[in-house]
């Protein structure tokens, strides 16, 4: 009888020890995963992008009744913008939002207006609009 109690006690103690050991094993702090190697880029870093230059006003094909004409648009903040037509050329600094506005003298008839900026890579960015200055009837 005593032998059975002793065997059962040993079994229970062994089970408890096994459970405690398992609990300690699963609750131990896990080691961080080994760092993955960072892929090395084959390309050089891309150059800084600049806002595209656009003339917002006038629109292509506009009929204009007076000269000078206000030319406005959008580019990179603080960019120097050159605006030119067949009869005039002007230079203006874009504001903090990249907006620019300039008065440009026009010729009677067809005028192609070109706005230009040189970006950080030294490339000329342009936008063009064609307008017609109406001749006032006499």
């Amino acid at each position: 009888m005593n032998e059975k109690f002793i065997t059962a006690g040993i079994g229970i103690a062994f089970g408890i020890a096994l459970a405690i050991g398992f609990f300690i094993f699963i609750s131990r702090p896990k080691a961080p995963p080994p760092p993955q190697p960072t892929p090395i880029s084959q390309n050089p870093p891309a150059p800084q992008t600049v806002n595209p230059l656009t003339i917002d006003s006038p629109s292509d094909g506009d009929i204009v009744t007076a000269s000078p004409l206000i030319v406005s648009g959008l580019t990179s903040p603080k960019a120097t913008v050159v605006v030119t037509g067949p009869a005039d050329e002007q230079m203006v600094l874009a504001d903090d939002k990249g907006q620019f506005m300039v008065k440009l003298k026009l010729e009677e008839g067809e005028n192609t207006i070109v706005a230009a900026v040189v970006d950080e890579r030294g490339t000329l960015q342009t936008d063009k609009k064609q307008v017609v200055l109406e001749i006032k009837s006499q």
């Binding site: 230079m91 010729e107 008839g109 067809e110 192609t112 000329l124 017609v132």
Partner: protein
């Protein structure tokens, strides 16, 4: 049948009475206001129909001509001007010839795409080129901008956009690597652009 006629008679009477009452209540100021509104609407529509186009005259007919694919109709109220070397002269329809560069201001017929001209202005169209100067042939005064050739010489008005202002320059100031905006025209399609004006934008 009698009932139907009676109902029709009553309806007709009601309509006539109502119409006459409305006609009597329209005051002169209200009529004027209506006329003004109609006139404004017509002016707005006319403004929307205003259309300009420019390009080379490709053919001339008896009462019309073409700029590219666009048919330009003329009328007795169409006015014609020619601008040469900054001087404007009045011309006639008969003076228009194939190959002229013309700008047209008129009214667009949205159904046909044709324009009825109010004003025709003939002058040499200034074409533009822009880009970086890659080659300079100093002997022939030919400057290549991104693959396109332009002839720039002492007759070309050259200016430079500096940090402070736009200053007069000489064509010999143009260097390889400079950015240029030029205005000119083609004497023949295969020849370099004859440059009237060049603006240097240094890097």
């Amino acid at each position: 049948m009698k009932k139907i006629f009676f109902v029709l008679f009553l309806t007709a009477n009601c309509y006539l009475l109502t119409a006459s009452v409305f006609a009597e209540t329209a005051t002169p100021s209200a009529s004027q206001e209506l006329l003004d509104r109609v006139a404004t609407k017509v002016a707005t529509l006319a403004e929307k129909m205003k259309k300009a186009t420019a390009g080379e005259i490709t053919s001339v007919g008896s009462k019309s001509f073409f700029i590219g694919d666009t048919k330009i109709n003329v009328s007795e109220v169409t006015t014609y001007y020619k601008i040469k070397a900054g001087n404007r002269t009045t011309i006639d329809f008969k003076n228009l010839v194939k190959g002229d560069d013309a700008a047209v201001i008129g009214t667009l017929d949205s159904a046909t795409g044709e324009i009825t001209a109010r004003q025709v202005i003939v002058k040499i169209q200034r074409l533009t080129l822009s880009g970086k100067v890659t080659i300079i042939d100093a002997k022939k005064n030919i400057y290549t901008l991104d693959g396109k050739e332009a002839e720039i010489d002492s007759t070309t008005a050259v200016k430079t956009a500096t940090a402070a202002a736009i200053l007069k320059s000489k064509y010999s100031d143009i260097k390889v690597g400079d950015n240029l905006i030029i205005y000119g025209y083609y004497v023949k399609p295969s020849t370099p652009l004859t440059t009237l004006k060049a603006l240097i934008i240094p890097q």
